[in-house]
Amino acid sequence: MNPALLTTTDAVDPVFKFIFGACILLLGGITATVLWFAFRYRRSRAPEPTSQVADNIWLETIWIVLPSILVMAMFWYGWAGYLTLREVPKNALPVTATARMWSWNFTYANGRTSPKLVVPVGKPVVVDLVSSDILHGFFLPAFRVKRDVVPGMKNHAWFVADKAGSYDLFCSQYCGKGHSAMITTVEALPEAEFIAWLVQPEEGQPTKHDGAKLAKEKGCLACHSLDGSRAVGPTFKGLYGKKQTVLQDGKPLTVMVNDAYLRESIRFPNAKLVEGFQPIMPTVSDLKDDEIEALVDFIEEVK
């Protein structure tokens, strides 16, 4: 790893130390003074006040000027650390993170996708943040990095993992029922292993997809249950072949759940709405045709 490269953690942690250090000193000073005065001048010991002084311009000037200098130092130091979070190293590896209610999906330059953010150790990674529905937050506590994922807006964040390992990735911006389950990990692999992972075809035959796995990875199961229970969306159990009342442009309509209906509902979630549910299903735009077929086959199997 390039030794001159400052990691995001290296940039932020000293600021924490400086501000916390100053705060502990101030708090300790205030607390000790209050306790000492309360003890020293307690009424049983000091039945009458021994001073009626109501101001002192010099004292007050001191405690206006000194804290002002201190907080300005904090401000500047904090700003300098923040700049490091914003300056993406030139050689950073680009990855696109797509957030949706309530899952993450990562796409690499060569088209490889993954539900985990796999990165090479020691190489900076810049993550472009895309939302397919509402606000989310991309949060890597281990790297002190956080950035909101805003629909219609280009946000990004960068970090570098300097040790191999698995790190938490949370959604930090509240996004509804599955918010706290919208978590995955960063997997930092040694560079050679990472490259092997990147070029390897996605698990198994590239043409034959596993519908069950897709349903989980793409976040379908966050809203659609497999056991018949009603969740945010209708259950998949026994769905195929059922007669369903739907609303098309606000008008009720009875349809038969077949391949064509399922395909349409995945591509254009709001074209026909099942009665009694909210129009909140996102369009999963990165699904390929064969993946949609795999999902349709999978739903057909859930009896």
Binding site: Y41, L135, F139, V150, G152, S172, K177
Partner: protein, 538 residues
């Protein structure tokens, strides 16, 4: 349950009107103050129960007592009630009404009927919010911030709840107008601006924030309703709108609203500390001025809630800078309060204990605020449990403890009876200990990376969450003891007459409990609010 009062003639009975209608249609500022007090206290207790349920759910990972949807609804309702029904109306409505007119030597506020109307608007808004919980698509689940696009899409009853908050906004604006007018026009002879008690100064600064900032909240919330009902698309990026614009509009009100919550609390502390030290407050002018400075500069820092949002880096530079500027007047106040203690004669009775613990808890809240104001460190802790810990230190440890202090300091004056001292000290000890366990653990969790509004969490966060929950039980026991002791005392306790604590502000110069007209004859003010020597006060 109207208690027997020791003094035969007071505002409780001297007009001969006592039934319930003589209260809910009364224009007497003291009766309205008590109406507000009991309403905000009731909502506070409901929201405390909700907070305790949240903590029980978080006691262990996974489902403990409720599902994710219920948890989300619960923290939303907890937040909405605490902010809009308890702490924003709490100080001006309850203690502002009870003591401010007396402290300036007036018989009532400038517009007594408008004052009553404000309370009714408040109750109407509260009623609408409560209705929203049980009708439509169920209680709102957006968080108290109602962020779009989620709030525009969720099927829960957001529109009605937001409408309730909208109505309450009017109540707040009218109270602000009433107080500004009262403080300008109705001061007694000799009550110059430099003789105003600092509580009055703080209400004055607060009232301006209420008048100037609340309309922006009203507009913002109306736009959320329009987004939901009419699909205006103002905040929808797919139709050229901007979700960040909502965040700006929301915080342009809601950051100044933090000062509506904390400034009057600072005012209360500025009353209690001098009285229980028998010394004039140190740096009166500096404290009064810094209230106004906080109110003014505080309206320019809203962007510090949005450092991670994608707002421009230049904006972050400016907002971070201004945030640190606003920190300075708050720090000055703390130093002035501490200096007031020097060479005093300090009595650690219940109001003073609450005031001194305010100093500590508010300092912790304020100092952790510096972490949130600095750009680099805010990125890590924003939207985590650290923020939840921080703002509970400020609004609960700060404003909440000041509210308890005010209850122990002023309520005996209006009831003519007092609470027992020993149980009050015990209650304070339990509250203080429980409080610190609960929220300190939450701040540490946030530093470790646990986000806020999380129904479930990874096993690594379990021990601190458990500790925090246990702390909340201690807090709850302290609170119950505090209330039982206080109200038992107010109804059946020792008589409380004269000026037992030796206050020099005007409310201590009139009969206890005060008569409806407050003053027998027009008062003429001859000394300052903290001039203990010149007044022959013990």
């Amino acid at each position: 349950m109207m208690p027997q009062q020791p003094t035969p003639s007071s505002f409780w009975n001297d007009t001969g009107k006592t039934g319930i209608t003589a209260w809910i249609f009364s224009t007497d500022h003291k009766r309205i103050g008590l109406l507000y007090f009991y309403s905000v206290l009731g909502f506070f207790l409901i929201a405390v129960v909700l907070g305790l349920l949240l903590r029980i759910e978080l006691m262990a990972p996974g489902r403990t007592i409720m599902g994710a949807q219920s948890y989300n609804a619960l923290f939303t309702v907890h937040g909405v009630i605490m902010v809009f029904l308890f702490i924003i109306p709490g100080f001006p409505g309850a203690f502002g009404n009870l003591v401010m007119p007396i402290q300036i030597g007036a018989r009532d506020v400038a517009f007594p009927r408008l004052n009553l109307f404000s309370w009714w608007l408040y109750m109407l808004g509260a009623g609408i919010i409560i209705t929203a919980l049980f009708t439509g698509g169920g209680p709102p689940d957006t968080g108290w911030t109602f962020y779009v696009p989620f709030s525009a899409r969720t099927g829960t009853n957001v529109s009605l709840a937001v409408f309730g908050v909208f109505i309450i906004g009017f109540s707040s604006i009218l109270t602000g107008l009433n107080f500004v007018t009262t403080i300008h026009r109705l001061r007694a002879e000799g009550m110059g601006w430099t003789r105003l008690p600092l509580f009055v100064w703080s209400l004055y600064a607060t009232a301006w924030v209420q008048i100037l900032a609340t309309p922006i909240l009203g507009i913002t919330l109306a736009l959320v309703i329009a987004e939901r009902m009419l699909g205006t698309g103002l905040f929808d990026s797919a139709r050229g709108g901007d979700p960040l614009m909502y965040q700006h509009l929301f915080w342009i009100y809601s950051h100044p609203a933090v000062y509506i919550m904390i400034l009057p609390a600072m005012g209360v502390i500025s009353e209690i500390i001098p009285v229980f030290s028998r010394k004039p407050v140190f740096g009166y002018k500096m404290i009064a001025f810094s209230s106004v400075a906080i109110a003014a500069a505080g309206s320019l820092v809203w962007g510090h809630h949005m450092f991670t949002s994608g707002m421009s880096d230049t904006a972050i530079l400016v907002f971070s800078f201004l945030t640190f500027v606003v920190a300075i007047p708050s720090a000055i106040k703390v130093f002035n309060w501490v200096a007031t203690l020097y060479k005093g004669s300090i009595s650690l009775e219940a109001p003073m204990l609450f005031a001194l613990s305010f100093l500590l808890l508010f300092s912790i809240g304020g100092l952790t605020g510096l972490i949130l104001g600095a750009a680099a460190t805010d990125i890590h802790v924003h939207d985590t449990q650290f923020v939840v810990g921080h703002f509970h230190y400020v609004i609960f440890g700060g404003s909440g403890f000041a509210f308890f202090g005010a209850m122990h300091y002023w309520l005996p004056k209006f009831y003519g009876r007092r609470y027992a001292e020993k149980p009050a000290l015990l209650a304070w000890g339990l509250l203080f200990t429980g409080f610190n366990i609960t929220y300190f653990c939450m701040m540490v969790l946030g530093m470790k990376g646990m986000p806020r509004r999380y129904y479930d969490y990874l096993p690594e966060f379990a021990p601190l969450n458990l500790a925090s929950t246990v702390g909340s039980w201690l807090l709850a026991i302290g609170l119950v003891l505090l209330l039982v002791n206080l109200f038992r005392g107010l109804l059946w306790g020792e008589p409380f007459t004269g000026n037992p604590w030796g206050g020099a502000t005007l409310e201590w110069s009139i009969a206890t409990p005060p008569p409806t007209e407050n003053f027998e004859e027009e008062p003429v003010v001859t000394h300052g609010p903290y001039d203990f020597k010149g007044t022959g006060i013990p």
